[in-house]
Symmetry: C2
Subunit: 120 residues, 2 copies
Protein backbone atom coordinates (compact mmCIF):
# COMPACT_ATOMS: atom_id res chain seq x y z
CA UNK A 1 0.00 0.00 0.00
CA UNK A 2 1.53 3.38 -0.96
CA UNK A 3 1.89 5.95 1.80
CA UNK A 4 0.19 9.30 1.97
CA UNK A 5 2.09 12.04 0.17
CA UNK A 6 3.06 14.53 2.86
CA UNK A 7 3.85 17.96 1.50
CA UNK A 8 6.02 19.05 4.46
CA UNK A 9 8.10 15.89 4.23
CA UNK A 10 8.56 16.41 0.50
CA UNK A 11 9.61 20.05 1.00
CA UNK A 12 12.17 18.95 3.59
CA UNK A 13 14.04 17.16 0.81
CA UNK A 14 14.90 20.20 -1.31
CA UNK A 15 15.78 23.83 -0.85
CA UNK A 16 16.16 25.20 -4.38
CA UNK A 17 13.65 27.74 -5.61
CA UNK A 18 11.73 27.77 -8.91
CA UNK A 19 12.49 24.08 -9.50
CA UNK A 20 9.16 22.21 -9.36
CA UNK A 21 9.29 18.66 -8.03
CA UNK A 22 6.67 16.12 -9.01
CA UNK A 23 5.06 14.36 -6.05
CA UNK A 24 2.12 12.61 -7.71
CA UNK A 25 0.54 11.79 -11.02
CA UNK A 26 -3.18 11.40 -11.71
CA UNK A 27 -3.89 10.11 -15.22
CA UNK A 28 -1.68 12.40 -17.35
CA UNK A 29 -1.66 15.26 -14.86
CA UNK A 30 1.07 15.95 -12.34
CA UNK A 31 1.12 17.54 -8.89
CA UNK A 32 4.31 19.54 -8.33
CA UNK A 33 5.68 21.28 -5.25
CA UNK A 34 7.82 24.37 -5.60
CA UNK A 35 9.53 26.94 -3.42
CA UNK A 36 9.35 30.35 -5.03
CA UNK A 37 10.70 33.76 -4.06
CA UNK A 38 11.06 37.02 -5.94
CA UNK A 39 10.03 37.51 -9.54
CA UNK A 40 9.68 34.90 -12.20
CA UNK A 41 9.49 35.62 -15.94
CA UNK A 42 6.51 36.50 -18.09
CA UNK A 43 5.30 33.38 -19.85
CA UNK A 44 2.21 31.51 -20.97
CA UNK A 45 1.21 27.93 -21.69
CA UNK A 46 -0.52 27.82 -25.05
CA UNK A 47 -1.97 24.34 -24.60
CA UNK A 48 -3.15 24.18 -21.02
CA UNK A 49 -4.60 25.87 -17.99
CA UNK A 50 -2.40 25.77 -14.89
CA UNK A 51 -3.46 25.57 -11.24
CA UNK A 52 -1.63 27.25 -8.37
CA UNK A 53 -2.48 26.31 -4.78
CA UNK A 54 -0.62 28.24 -2.08
CA UNK A 55 0.49 26.14 0.90
CA UNK A 56 2.66 28.70 2.70
CA UNK A 57 3.48 32.37 2.18
CA UNK A 58 1.98 34.87 -0.20
CA UNK A 59 2.04 34.67 -3.98
CA UNK A 60 1.04 37.34 -6.46
CA UNK A 61 0.36 36.38 -10.03
CA UNK A 62 0.71 39.33 -12.37
CA UNK A 63 -1.22 39.47 -15.62
CA UNK A 64 -0.92 42.07 -18.35
CA UNK A 65 -4.19 43.59 -17.16
CA UNK A 66 -4.12 43.01 -13.42
CA UNK A 67 -2.96 40.74 -10.64
CA UNK A 68 -4.28 38.27 -8.10
CA UNK A 69 -2.76 37.68 -4.67
CA UNK A 70 -3.01 34.24 -3.09
CA UNK A 71 -2.60 33.16 0.51
CA UNK A 72 -2.50 29.68 2.08
CA UNK A 73 -5.74 27.87 1.43
CA UNK A 74 -6.30 29.68 -1.83
CA UNK A 75 -5.99 28.57 -5.44
CA UNK A 76 -6.16 30.09 -8.89
CA UNK A 77 -6.53 28.73 -12.41
CA UNK A 78 -4.37 30.54 -14.94
CA UNK A 79 -6.19 30.06 -18.27
CA UNK A 80 -4.23 28.66 -21.18
CA UNK A 81 -2.56 31.20 -23.38
CA UNK A 82 -2.67 33.98 -20.78
CA UNK A 83 0.65 35.64 -19.99
CA UNK A 84 1.44 35.57 -16.30
CA UNK A 85 4.34 36.24 -13.96
CA UNK A 86 4.40 34.75 -10.45
CA UNK A 87 5.97 36.76 -7.64
CA UNK A 88 6.54 36.03 -3.95
CA UNK A 89 7.82 38.74 -1.60
CA UNK A 90 9.34 36.05 0.65
CA UNK A 91 9.79 32.36 0.04
CA UNK A 92 6.43 30.72 -0.55
CA UNK A 93 5.50 27.09 -1.00
CA UNK A 94 3.08 26.16 -3.73
CA UNK A 95 1.39 23.16 -5.29
CA UNK A 96 1.06 23.32 -9.07
CA UNK A 97 -1.28 21.05 -11.03
CA UNK A 98 -0.87 20.71 -14.78
CA UNK A 99 -0.47 18.10 -17.51
CA UNK A 100 2.77 16.14 -17.57
CA UNK A 101 5.41 17.68 -19.79
CA UNK A 102 4.57 21.31 -19.06
CA UNK A 103 7.68 23.46 -18.64
CA UNK A 104 7.78 26.11 -15.93
CA UNK A 105 8.63 28.92 -18.35
CA UNK A 106 6.03 27.78 -20.87
CA UNK A 107 6.39 29.40 -24.29
CA UNK A 108 9.01 31.88 -23.05
CA UNK A 109 11.90 29.49 -22.41
CA UNK A 110 15.14 31.07 -21.24
CA UNK A 111 17.55 30.44 -18.40
CA UNK A 112 14.83 30.15 -15.74
CA UNK A 113 13.58 26.96 -17.40
CA UNK A 114 13.73 24.05 -14.95
CA UNK A 115 13.94 20.35 -15.74
CA UNK A 116 10.31 19.32 -16.05
CA UNK A 117 10.28 15.71 -15.00
CA UNK A 118 11.94 15.64 -11.59
CA UNK A 119 10.21 13.48 -8.99
CA UNK A 120 10.86 13.77 -5.29
CA UNK B 1 -9.71 39.79 -13.01
CA UNK B 2 -11.13 36.73 -11.21
CA UNK B 3 -10.52 36.51 -7.48
CA UNK B 4 -8.52 33.88 -5.68
CA UNK B 5 -10.56 30.81 -4.78
CA UNK B 6 -10.56 30.69 -0.99
CA UNK B 7 -11.36 27.25 0.40
CA UNK B 8 -12.56 28.49 3.81
CA UNK B 9 -14.91 30.98 2.17
CA UNK B 10 -16.27 28.27 -0.10
CA UNK B 11 -16.80 25.88 2.83
CA UNK B 12 -18.70 28.60 4.70
CA UNK B 13 -21.39 28.40 2.02
CA UNK B 14 -22.47 24.82 2.61
CA UNK B 15 -22.86 22.38 5.48
CA UNK B 16 -23.99 19.15 3.84
CA UNK B 17 -21.68 16.17 3.88
CA UNK B 18 -20.69 13.89 1.00
CA UNK B 19 -21.91 16.42 -1.55
CA UNK B 20 -18.86 17.64 -3.49
CA UNK B 21 -18.98 21.22 -4.73
CA UNK B 22 -16.94 22.31 -7.73
CA UNK B 23 -14.81 25.39 -7.09
CA UNK B 24 -12.58 25.41 -10.17
CA UNK B 25 -12.01 23.80 -13.52
CA UNK B 26 -8.64 23.30 -15.24
CA UNK B 27 -9.01 22.02 -18.80
CA UNK B 28 -11.45 19.12 -18.35
CA UNK B 29 -10.55 18.50 -14.71
CA UNK B 30 -12.45 19.81 -11.72
CA UNK B 31 -11.47 20.77 -8.19
CA UNK B 32 -14.19 19.87 -5.70
CA UNK B 33 -14.54 20.62 -1.99
CA UNK B 34 -16.40 18.22 0.27
CA UNK B 35 -17.25 17.78 3.92
CA UNK B 36 -17.17 14.13 4.85
CA UNK B 37 -17.88 12.25 8.06
CA UNK B 38 -18.39 8.59 8.83
CA UNK B 39 -18.29 5.84 6.24
CA UNK B 40 -18.88 6.13 2.54
CA UNK B 41 -19.62 3.19 0.23
CA UNK B 42 -17.21 0.89 -1.55
CA UNK B 43 -16.80 2.06 -5.13
CA UNK B 44 -14.31 2.50 -7.93
CA UNK B 45 -13.89 4.71 -10.97
CA UNK B 46 -13.10 2.51 -13.94
CA UNK B 47 -11.93 5.35 -16.18
CA UNK B 48 -9.87 7.60 -13.97
CA UNK B 49 -7.53 8.09 -11.07
CA UNK B 50 -8.85 10.31 -8.28
CA UNK B 51 -6.91 12.67 -6.03
CA UNK B 52 -7.75 13.36 -2.39
CA UNK B 53 -6.10 16.27 -0.58
CA UNK B 54 -7.00 16.67 3.09
CA UNK B 55 -7.50 20.25 4.24
CA UNK B 56 -8.87 19.64 7.73
CA UNK B 57 -9.43 16.56 9.86
CA UNK B 58 -8.38 12.99 9.32
CA UNK B 59 -9.44 10.78 6.45
CA UNK B 60 -8.87 7.07 6.06
CA UNK B 61 -9.24 5.48 2.67
CA UNK B 62 -9.89 1.76 2.91
CA UNK B 63 -8.88 -0.57 0.13
CA UNK B 64 -9.65 -4.26 -0.16
CA UNK B 65 -6.04 -4.99 0.81
CA UNK B 66 -5.17 -2.18 3.21
CA UNK B 67 -5.78 1.43 4.11
CA UNK B 68 -4.10 4.81 4.06
CA UNK B 69 -4.73 7.57 6.59
CA UNK B 70 -4.41 11.19 5.51
CA UNK B 71 -3.98 14.33 7.57
CA UNK B 72 -4.00 18.00 6.55
CA UNK B 73 -1.20 18.68 4.09
CA UNK B 74 -1.34 15.18 2.72
CA UNK B 75 -2.69 13.79 -0.54
CA UNK B 76 -3.28 10.43 -2.16
CA UNK B 77 -3.96 9.22 -5.68
CA UNK B 78 -6.52 6.42 -5.85
CA UNK B 79 -5.69 4.52 -9.04
CA UNK B 80 -8.45 3.95 -11.55
CA UNK B 81 -10.37 0.75 -11.12
CA UNK B 82 -9.33 0.28 -7.49
CA UNK B 83 -12.16 -0.21 -5.01
CA UNK B 84 -11.99 2.25 -2.14
CA UNK B 85 -14.11 3.50 0.73
CA UNK B 86 -13.38 6.85 2.38
CA UNK B 87 -13.97 7.24 6.10
CA UNK B 88 -13.63 10.17 8.48
CA UNK B 89 -13.99 9.67 12.26
CA UNK B 90 -15.12 13.29 12.60
CA UNK B 91 -16.07 15.83 9.94
CA UNK B 92 -13.14 16.39 7.61
CA UNK B 93 -12.71 18.82 4.74
CA UNK B 94 -11.19 17.58 1.54
CA UNK B 95 -10.26 18.75 -1.94
CA UNK B 96 -10.90 16.20 -4.68
CA UNK B 97 -9.38 16.49 -8.16
CA UNK B 98 -10.79 14.42 -11.01
CA UNK B 99 -12.11 14.74 -14.54
CA UNK B 100 -15.42 16.52 -14.98
CA UNK B 101 -18.38 14.19 -14.97
CA UNK B 102 -17.05 11.79 -12.35
CA UNK B 103 -19.73 10.70 -9.90
CA UNK B 104 -18.86 10.38 -6.20
CA UNK B 105 -20.04 6.78 -5.99
CA UNK B 106 -18.31 5.78 -9.22
CA UNK B 107 -19.39 2.44 -10.59
CA UNK B 108 -21.33 1.56 -7.45
CA UNK B 109 -24.18 4.05 -7.75
CA UNK B 110 -26.86 3.90 -5.07
CA UNK B 111 -28.47 6.39 -2.74
CA UNK B 112 -25.19 8.06 -1.71
CA UNK B 113 -24.73 9.33 -5.26
CA UNK B 114 -24.52 13.13 -5.24
CA UNK B 115 -25.30 15.51 -8.09
CA UNK B 116 -21.99 15.77 -9.91
CA UNK B 117 -22.03 19.21 -11.43
CA UNK B 118 -22.74 21.57 -8.55
CA UNK B 119 -20.58 24.68 -8.45
CA UNK B 120 -20.26 26.87 -5.40
Amino acid sequence: MPNAINFAEKFSRFAEQWQPKIVAQMNDYQFKLARIEGEFVWHSHSDTDEVFIVLEGEVRIDFRDGAVTLHPGEMFVVPKGIEHKPFAPREAKILVVEPSGVVNTGDAGGDRTAPNDVWI
